[in-house]
């Protein structure tokens, strides 16, 4: 059996074991939760998950040297999957705590400002994702499939070409983002049933390159 060394980045942001269990379920048996920047650098694949506040998350990443490790890993060209808070921190800047983030991708993180008072923040629950363009990790899902969201902030990338999915919540926001070997989902694919696991299963097979 082909062995995959997958690192799940631990920066005290949420239940990483859910991500690890989902990995095991799709056959990635050696998914390792790690706070060690060296493990991240040498991994064949990295998942950057997270829930909570980007303000404290960025501080913890820096304190552990994981910010540099993630940046180096990204530039190595190996596959990197961001989930929820992880999908936000890869951008330049977050409104949450007015914080500079990793800057792997140009854009900003903004808080929902909804005109419709009946729409609640955080956006919690199952919502559909419209696929804007194809990607190798999306081969098991279709446009309109639903996934589980929990968030108060959303990503606004500078380059439209990095938007892979959109979701409507009092207006459209970017729910899937990608560039080169980086792909991110705002939703929790590890808590989104068979379809969420389908994305993880496709990520398992992805080598980080995009078809021309």
């Amino acid at each position: 059996m082909e062995r995959i060394v997958l690192a799940i980045v631990d920066y005290d942001a949420g239940n990483l074991r859910s991500v690890q269990r989902a990995c095991q379920h799709v056959g990635i048996s050696d998914a390792e939760i790690t706070a060690d920047p060296e493990r991240v650098r040498v991994a064949d694949k990295v998942i950057f998950p997270g829930v909570g506040s980007s303000e404290s998350a960025v501080v913890t990443l820096q304190a552990r040297g994981l910010d540099d490790a993630l940046t180096e890993y990204y530039h190595s060209g190996k596959p990197l999957l961001g989930i929820c808070l992880g999908s936000q921190i890869v951008l330049d800047h977050s409104e949450e705590g007015d914080k500079e983030c990793l800057g792997l991708l140009a854009g900003r993180v903004k808080r929902f400002q909804l005109a419709d008072a009946s729409l609640k923040v955080p956006h919690i629950g199952w919502n559909s994702v419209d696929i804007v363009r194809d990607h190798p990790v999306l081969r098991n899902i279709k446009s309109g499939d639903e996934f589980y969201f929990v968030h108060s902030y959303f990503v606004e990338p500078a380059d439209e070409a990095t938007v892979y999915g959109r979701t409507n919540y009092g207006g459209e926001f970017c729910s899937m983002l990608g560039r080169n070997n980086l792909f991110t989902t705002q939703f929790h694919l590890e808590k989104s049933g068979r379809l969420g696991l389908g994305i993880l299963d496709a990520f398992k097979e992805w080598d980080g390159t995009l078809p021309c």
Partner: protein
């Protein structure tokens, strides 16, 4: 657009699935892990487990149940019952629960909500409130009173004031459980659910009284709930989760149909 959620509630006692009627009698009806998996495969959106184990030395059984569920069920689930500290909450989250659910202990010591919210994040803290209808009074101006200990003990607290305080203290979601309706299968307490939904800005999960698909429709529309909790109507096989969702979808409610 966000879908309305159908959430199944599983009462667990000593590791077995139990169902209460009017909060008093309980009987065991099977294995909670198998049931959770069955509902997950049938398109359930979320699960709630209430640990109603009486003796504290058997509490670790619940952690085993949570571990087993987390390995097989990849939708969010919360666990309540017996959480009195951040340490209790962390044990359950580590075992695999997505959210923790606080109820009586939070009424007795409201700081528990702040502490849990700070430690694990507001989005992972669900405040469950058991509520009984009473005469309107100065202490209970809404006519709905918070009750604790499985509905047996009145608290003198107004339910609407308490849910507002709960949100301010950092609860991320609310379960509104009418003990008058619980187990009757005659429908949710619509007026109460709507009053709560209009008083807070966090999601409201209606609980207690579901017996027919119409009841779900009513509470998700007139009751303004974001999610509907079901128990006996699916536990005994009278309805299936997928059947309920198809029925609601045909009535124009947006629910998740592909899973």
């Amino acid at each position: 657009m966000l879908s309305k959620r159908i959430i199944a509630c599983l009462d667990v006692r000593d590791g077995n699935l139990a169902k209460s009627i009017k909060f008093v009698e309980t009987k065991d009806i099977g294995d909670p892990v198998a049931k959770a998996r069955e509902y997950y495969e049938d398109g359930l959106d979320e699960l709630v487990f209430y640990d109603i184990t009486a003796s504290s030395d058997k509490r670790n059984i619940m952690l085993d149940v949570v571990e087993s569920v987390a390995k097989q069920v990849f939708i969010p689930f919360s666990v309540g019952g017996g959480i009195r500290s951040v340490e209790d909450a962390n044990k359950l989250l580590w075992a695999g629960a997505e959210k923790i659910n606080v109820n009586s202990a939070a009424v007795q010591r409201p700081d528990l909500i702040d502490e849990c919210s700070h430690a694990v994040g507001a989005q992972n803290v669900v405040l469950s409130v058991d509520i009984a209808q009473v005469d309107v009074s100065d202490r209970v101006p809404s006519g709905y009173e918070v009750v604790i200990n499985g509905g047996r003990t009145p608290t003198g607290r107004d339910a609407i004031a308490w849910v507002i305080e709960g949100e301010q203290r950092g609860a991320g979601e609310l379960v509104v459980n009418s003990i008058d309706a619980d187990g009757t299968r005659e429908g949710y307490e619509l007026k109460l659910t709507r009053m709560v939904a209009e008083s807070v800005s966090i999601p409201v999960i209606a609980s207690g009284g579901a017996g027919e698909p119409e009841h779900l429709y009513d509470v998700l529309t007139e009751g303004k709930a974001d999610a509907a909790l079901v128990a006996s109507m699916v536990h005994y096989g009278d309805y299936t989760v997928s059947g309920l969702k198809r029925w609601l979808s045909n009535k124009g409610i947006k629910v998740r149909l592909k899973y």
